[in-house]
Symmetry: C2
Subunit: 181 residues, 2 copies
């Protein structure tokens, strides 16, 4: 149930707000850059949301995969939210080398709410064991998929990428998942 | 249980990160402003977190209370979070008129996670009724108080302000709660 609430929070407090504006942000970005090679194909204009089954979320994608490198940030979006005037939202563009050494670019980030699940499983006062955390990650995925599939605002603007990283093999699957976009 | 997760999320994903830096942000802000009258007393250098029992969260404080007006934003904080490079966090300063018409300033915002609870109670697919939402708000408060009281990082840097707004009387208690800081 914790995960169900975190999935809804991720959707209503974030994805529902930013995904409809993503196309616009990418267009602005490409105009500003002048480099038309980056994010050239519209089918890749999606937020790639990384969901590691371990719920372990590094703050930098480079820590999980050496084939992935931060490229640039998209233009910021400012929205008045719950008393914070002009709260800033932005997404990061990454350069990914595929197995042939070809560079691709994509907008990607981890599903931040999983960081809460991970922290809760580390703090005894939170009442979440490691076994329960695993179940909660699966529930998070199910709840998130369900709400996104019903969402007109988010249709075709995202891709959920599940990372089976529970066997210490993160460096392996990562280049594959990003280059298979 | 949804509320328990949202309280932990609010703490580990936000309050624990920004509250330790709040003093610094206010100092920087006061130096830049030159106006030493604003936020002059250190005892008011806390984030006032507004928690309406209805979970109804407007995006602007002015909508809830005409005695409250946005003054300015504090300097931004940028942190690499879960793949978003230099994610921006900031807080808003408000000018509040007390019952004698005196102006006071404070850093305030609503407890953003309650917006998720409210939205969930409006969407049938989320499985949260209005009665359950009320219970969840109370659970949110208890869980948040518990985790904040144990937190070294957040000690004395916040004030939870519970708003009993379930009888359509928001314009009344608001000036009181803010001017009684
Ligand atoms: N007032 C306020 N200002 C902030 O900058 C802020 N950032 C987070 N929060 C609240 O703290 C809690 C923990 O945040 P987390 O990042 O784990 O989840 C976030 C995160 O996964 C995603 N999200 C929200 N804003 C951003 C953002 N700018 N960039 C990336 N992800 C974001 O959507 C979730 C829900 O967000 P909110 O529903 O706005 O409330 C959050 C949440 O309750 C904030 N609250």
């Amino acid at each position: 149930n914790v995960a169900h609430g975190l999935a809804w929070s991720f959707y209503t407090g974030y994805l529902k707000l930013v995904l409809p504006k993503l196309e616009n942000s990418i267009e602005q970005y490409r105009q500003r850059q002048g480099n038309r090679e980056i994010l050239r194909h519209r089918h890749s204009w999606r937020l790639h949301i990384l969901i590691p089954l371990s719920a372990f979320i590094p703050d930098k994608l480079e820590e999980a995969d050496q084939c992935v490198r931060f490229h640039d940030n998209l233009p910021e979006i400012a929205i008045d939210r719950a008393g914070v005037r002009k709260r800033i939202y932005k997404n990061s563009v990454y350069r990914v080398l595929d197995q042939q050494g070809q560079a691709h670019h994509c907008v990607a980030e981890y599903a931040t709410p999983l960081q809460t699940l991970y922290t809760m499983s580390q703090e005894s006062s939170a009442g979440l064991s490691s076994e329960e955390r695993r179940q909660q990650v699966l529930l998070f995925i199910r709840s998130l998929e369900a709400v996104l599939e019903e969402s007109v605002e988010c249709r075709n603007r995202y891709r959920l990428i599940i990372l089976d990283d529970e066997h210490e093999q993160e460096a392996e699957p990562d280049p594959h998942f990003l280059s298979k976009k």
